[in-house]
């Protein structure tokens, strides 16, 4: 089990490193997409046959544990948001915060229309 957790930690640190290097190159000096890089890394590593030969298969348990813990962490995250100040800082913030979300949500069907998913045509698009 610890192998999986360690693998996760390794991916997070390498991803974060990549994100920071990327941030340095763009002059932002912060982490850009480190989590995204880490996710891609984890996917690549766990899909590689070599790794699955080296590490005992039980490593998956360590990853699964944290995957299951994801929702509890999200609940704790919700409980530590600054809800009071967000709700009390005026009408502008409320209108803008809600408005943007509603507009963006209704843009998703448009995207789906332009690029219909779940069809065979996806395979062809990918090759173009």
């Amino acid at each position: 089990m610890i192998y999986g957790v360690a693998l996760l930690a390794g991916c997070m640190l390498v991803g974060s490193f990549l994100g920071n290097v990327f941030g340095l190159l763009t002059g932002l000096n912060s982490d850009i997409g480190g989590v995204g890089f880490a996710m891609i890394l984890l996917l690549l590593v766990t899909n590689s046959r070599k790794l699955n030969r080296i590490i005992p298969e039980t490593y998956v348990k360590g990853i699964h544990f944290w995957k299951e813990m994801y929702i509890p962490v999200t609940i704790a995250m919700a409980a530590s948001q600054n809800v009071v100040s967000a709700l009390s800082s005026g009408f502008l913030a409320l209108v803008l915060g809600l408005g943007v979300v509603l507009i963006m949500l209704f843009l998703i069907p448009l995207f789906n229309k332009f690029a219909p998913s779940e069809t065979e045509s996806n395979e062809m698009e990918a090759e173009e």
């Binding site: 997070m12 996917l43 509890p72 999200t74 609940i75 100040s85 998703i108």
Partner: protein
Amino acid sequence: MKEIFNIIVDLFVKNGFVMAFLIVGIVAMFSNFISAKVTRGRIHSSAIAIFLGLILAYIGGRVAGGSKGLSDIPIFTGIGVLGGSTLRDFTIISTAYGAKLSEIKKSGLIGVISLFLGIVLTFIIGALVSVAFGYRDSASVTTIAAGAVTFIVGPVTGAAVGASSDVVAISIATGVLKSIAVMLLTPVLAKKIGLKTPRAAMVFGGLMGTTSGVSAGLAATDPKLVPYGAMTATFYTGLGCLLCPSVLYFLVNIFLP
């Protein structure tokens, strides 16, 4: 009796992190009960749990007067550790396990397009709304619009363009409200907007951006979609920090000299 009480409080404060597991477990169990019995499974228990979390954050904020919700109350500090950015990122990364690499490759391009479009459109909406509310100087308009991108992009941009602190506060509040709105509205509207494929989730992550909002909103909709949305969303804040104080600020300056 008072000594016993003190021992208990002391235990809670000292073992805040362990305490957090217990509290979140109770909240999850309670939400599960409400989801199954009261709503008959129509509202996902995660959505209820996240909503309860936000209510607890409100109560915590009122009681302690801090900026970190429930976790500002001494016996609940562990909640802040459990829900802090380190563990949040750690668990988000773990959700990638089991995601299909082929889906991500397939939707990679549209994910990138949705990222750029999401930031630029959000910024434009933010700029227009702040102008409608009477802001005319480019620094304030840019900062508030950047806050609509995420609550991290807002203050980063505000510092870069030299906005006043009350404007920065509004931009942070806008970003937090956006992320709360994403958490709550996503599960409600998911079916209507066709949010059920990995591709739609990647587009969703790119358009919305707020990592906490996206990941919580998807968790309450369909946990299988979390990795796809989170994958694009995690690039959003970085890209926003890049675009807002530079290109987008420049554009605002053209319109508001």
